[in-house]
């Protein structure tokens, strides 16, 4: 029996079938993503009173050092979160590999399941741990390590801790997949050829798990850039992120065009990050002939 003939008879033409299958996704994205984004983009060029005139005034204001500073802080916090998550995840994933398959799945579940907890709950938990009369300060004082409670909450450090906690599983999972898929004899080959542990990591493990590292980094960096709840709850006035500023523009200043312009800058930053990622995730650089 000729299976390719059979397939040709049964399957509808590729173009048509493709069109049918993606219709729900296209509708969803157009109505709930592209359209709202277009509206926000439109607002960002609107006059202060939404009177109908077009202006670049909002963008000019958005580049005020105040806002640029917040954008830079957002980028810095997102980057720091990504790097911390990477530093925590990599050894963790390597340790997972040494466990028996059953324990490995169990440990992985223990790492991932808590991330299903509501974000608010997680952040309130951190407040309880970090506040002046909180668990950590009581502990430190009880042990006599400090006389006065340390300012652990409402600063960048607290935001960073909260963000890393929230997004860690998004780093662990792709990294685990990459390490798990890797041909482990490559590591033995590197050792055999004289590479110590560090150089084996640098020359073999890291290049071989590069895609996992980059995908994990993107999954942490991009949502962190627009994080709202964590800096709102754990941060102070000096650790605001761009989403907090956008919120206050909408709810307090009632300046929708300004909020829209800042949102578009955030979108641009995310696109930039995604573009960079796309450039570097090509599996291997093409060999010179």
């Amino acid at each position: 029996m000729n299976s390719s003939d059979e397939r040709r008879v049964k399957a509808p033409p590729a173009a048509l079938s493709g069109g049918v299958y993606v219709t729900p996704a296209v509708l969803y994205l157009v109505l709930l993503f592209a359209l709202p984004l277009a509206i926000v983009a439109g607002y960002s060029f609107a006059d202060g009173d939404l009177g109908g005139g077009l202006t670049l005034e909002n963008y000019a204001r958005a580049f005020d050092p105040l806002y640029v500073g917040v954008l830079l802080r957002s980028a810095w916090l997102a980057l720091a979160t990504t790097l911390l998550a990477l530093l925590i995840s990599y050894p963790c994933v390597l340790a997972l590999r040494t466990l028996s398959p059953t324990r490995r799945i169990l440990t992985l579940a223990l790492l991932v399941v808590p991330s299903w907890l509501n974000l608010l709950v997680k952040n309130y938990a951190w407040i309880i741990l970090l506040r002046r009369e909180g668990v950590l300060n009581s502990l430190l004082q009880g042990m006599g390590l400090t006389d006065t409670p340390l300012p652990l909450l409402f600063n960048e450090g607290a935001v960073l801790v909260g963000l890393v906690h929230t997004y860690l599983p998004f780093m662990i999972l792709p990294l685990y997949a990459a390490v798990d898929r890797m041909d482990w004899s490559l590591v033995e080959a590197a050792r055999d050829l004289g590479a110590g542990r560090w150089r084996t990591f640098r020359h073999v493990l890291l290049p071989q798990t590069r895609v996992g590292v980059l995908v994990g980094s993107a999954l942490v960096f991009i949502p962190t850039l627009g994080a709202f709840v964590t800096p709102d709850l754990l941060g102070g006035p000096t650790s605001l992120m761009i989403a907090n500023v956008i919120e206050s523009q909408v709810l307090q200043a009632r300046d929708w065009p300004m909020a829209a312009a800042l949102s578009m800058l955030l979108v641009a930053l995310v696109l930039l990050a995604t573009g960079l990622l796309h450039r570097v995730t090509r599996p291997y650089p093409a060999a010179a002939e």
Binding site: D183, S185, L186, E188, A189, A190, R191, D192, L193, G194, A195, G196, R199, H203, V204, P207, Q208, Y284, A287, A288, E289
Partner: protein, 366 residues
Amino acid sequence: MAAGETLLELNGVTKRYGAVVAVDGISASLHPGEYLCLLGPSGCGKTTLLRLIAGFEVPDGGVVRLHGRDMTSVPPERRDVNVVFQNYALFPHLTVAENVGFGLRMKGVPRAEARERVTDALRQVRLEREANRLPRQISGGQQQRVALARALVNRPALLLLDEPLSALDPELRQQVQDELRRVQRETGIAFLHITHDQDEALSLADRVAVMRSGRFEQIGTPREVYAAPASRFVASFVGGANLLEGRVAGEGWVELGSETSVHVPGLGAPADPAEPITLAVRPEAVRLANGDSGEGLPGRIIRAAFRGSEVEYSIEATSGWNVSGGLLRALVPAGVGAAAEGDTVRLEIAPTDWVVIRGGTTNGAG
């Protein structure tokens, strides 16, 4: 390199995985420049032994010595040993030349010298033109040669090859065998080559170690191992000998059954009367004669399989003797006295073709 000098010494090396003893107190030695094949069925522990020598595993007991030095606490990267992995383990993100140069780079060999040595190594395995390709852009046979070059370029004292030919096509396998032997002679590096293919072991090695259940059953030249197997297992695994159980019936005579005895010169006097003994005979040493009566062991042909230059007969004993496994294998040149399935035959075996294995059934064949 004085004769008798020892490069690698294994002294009671043991490795357990839980209740399984993978390597069971092996002691052996390897001389500089020697080609040793480690021959055994899958699961006999030969790969574990290689990993112990390479340093990927630490023995639970015994000592691995290289150049007389205890290797127990020496990590793989500091052993004067390199491995050709079964799946080659080439670095996919590095070119052929970068793969070959990896070891030199790790050891801090100056760039100019490294480049020269990489070029030499690639020339040695005839891959100069593939230097800038990635592993996935070259064929399996070429990948195998890259793996060989990548190990050889470091000029180790000992090269460990883990089933290096198992992933290759049969016709390519012969070619790579010749290549291995040539490169080994040219470089003078000692090779320890792991295989489950007895033809490969016999044709390549200076010495063959036959391994089974974590132990060496026999170690010797290919001719010794083939002609004078030390155990039933070696006899049947190397060359597929037929094994017949018997008892010593007197000087030079072995009783195979109630009414069947064969003459085995050089048997010597029995250690004790009626000592159990195993006789091995190679399939190609068995000749078939027609007829129900006459000299030789009586049998019936169960299957005749044409193999081109020869015919392989599977023969069942009809009376008076027994063969281990129930069927005796005979290889007869094609065109010599054709016999058909179902024919009754007499098996003629020259007295000098019997190989005596003392110890009877204690070394039951695997």
